[in-house]
Symmetry: C2
Subunit: 287 residues, 2 copies
């Protein structure tokens, strides 16, 4: 299934369950790749932006909420961060934030759709920033599900999943087989993180994901933040580890290396964001 | 200035700086009161909803984020809660949450626009719930700015401001004279709270409000949460006290009396929500 965003007049909208979120602007690119419908727009409010299958992914002036929330709680808490795997994230924003950590020596970015990379490099160069030319960065245009299945046991310190919603090419990034492989390929002391949808717009998907990841890794907790352009604006990322909830404890030296360049993330913000679990979710996850 | 919401086909939208947030549904009431344009809709996603001057105010199935976030951090932390003043809040939701606290003996709700009360009672009865008939509840259809100016010194334990954006009739709820009166009429050990806009969609208004309230009361901090239907979905409420940041410390007996009936709020959530201050705001507020 591929879907173009709704457009009317100067508005480009994502529609979700009787709600629409629109940006005023114009469509720059609208194409069908081998995997999905890709749309690049130029918006008045957030600069250039990307949609996949009609859903907002990122935009120049609103990408830091998402990328900082996914990256720094993992990179500041894993025992080591030498080898990092990013699955998805073809816009480069997740890789860019990871590579701000001097401890990262090798980063594999596995993006299934090379056209997302091409169009991001052409139209959204600020999102990837210097990542594309960083010698530590390795682009693999490949299926992230297969990559996780084939990678060696205990081969990554950090595994980050930066995928779209559980329909279309990202569907397999939400199931037991995939998360089991992510757990298997994580080194001892490693941290796994994935975007885990909106607790409001995708409530059941969110709850089921956290429960499944907790079952497989032993320890997992959601962190709540904001991505104003996504359905409801309220978003979550889930962090997991095998040797205890180490994702809760920030290493201050790592934090000091990146904090000044952050718009959203700080150790204080992270501590808060793990606690702003709404009562209706806490009753389901921690009864 | 009064503005009707934008409607096209089955969509009712709030427009804000090149962004639109729309709900699919139909308009039930559209009228001009003495103060503002009032719109009541029936939406597919959130049930019946209210707009004032084209801005989303509340909806049946999405009102608890706002009301629980404003009420319980104040009512669970003030030294006493016998006398409560609510300015605005004509839909009744704030009063309803306050009156769940058995310690509240007298609540004045001062709403400038009686038509908001009438239409809320008629179309959104679940939002006010039992408040309208509670013997502790006193409806005052009057100007809240004048009410605060004329109230006696130290006459309320808690003062809550549940107003709309700083244009139209709510404009005077955002300035030094008004906040000074709120401070003056608060009893020792009292807590003041107001919605304080979105740190994203109304960044400068938000920062200026927190700074001003902090200057006047001595202690003030923003708390961050979500109102999916508001611009950006990311919203804030600011809490203030004269005798120290007492709004940070929840009284467990008060919490126990209301927690079970909450969708969002819990002591843990509150603690988190005071800490999820984004780095770009913290640098301005706590340099």
């Amino acid at each position: 299934m591929t879907t173009a965003p709704e457009t009317s007049g100067n508005w480009i909208d994502e529609h979700h369950n009787g709600v629409r979120y629109g940006l005023k602007g114009r469509v720059l690119v609208e194409e069908q790749s081998d995997f999905q419908r890709i749309t690049v727009i130029d918006s008045q409010r957030y600069g250039k932006g990307l949609l996949l299958d009609g859903c907002w992914m990122t935009a120049e002036h609103q990408e830091r909420h998402y990328h900082e929330s996914l990256v720094h709680p993992a990179l500041c808490t894993a025992a080591a961060i030498e080898r990092v795997l990013v699955i998805g994230g073809g816009d480069g924003g997740t890789a860019r934030e990871c590579l701000r950590h001097p401890g990262v020596k090798h980063l594999d970015l596995v993006e299934i759709d090379g056209r997302v990379v091409d169009l991001s490099q052409e139209h959204l160069p600020s999102i990837g920033g210097g990542c594309w030319n960083d010698p530590r960065f390795h682009l693999r245009v490949a299926d992230g599900i297969a990559w996780a299945a084939e990678a060696e046991d205990a081969s990554y310190d950090v595994v980050l999943v930066d995928g779209s919603d559980p329909t279309g090419p990202a569907e397999g990034l939400f199931n037991r087989a995939f998360f089991s492989n992510c757990c298997r390929i994580l080194k001892p002391g490693g941290v796994f993180a994935t975007q885990s949808e909106s607790p409001e717009a995708f409530r059941q998907v969110h709850i089921d994901m956290v429960k499944l990841i907790r079952e497989l890794f032993g320890h997992a907790d959601p962190l709540y933040g904001w991505v104003p352009m996504y359905p409801s604006g309220w978003w979550s990322w889930t962090f997991a580890a095998k040797d205890g909830p180490r994702y809760l404890t920030v290493q201050s030296e790592r934090a000091a290396a990146v904090a000044e360049g952050c718009a959203i993330w700080s150790p204080r913000w992270q501590q808060g964001a793990f606690n702003t679990i709404p009562a209706f979710i806490e009753r389901e996850l921690n009864p």
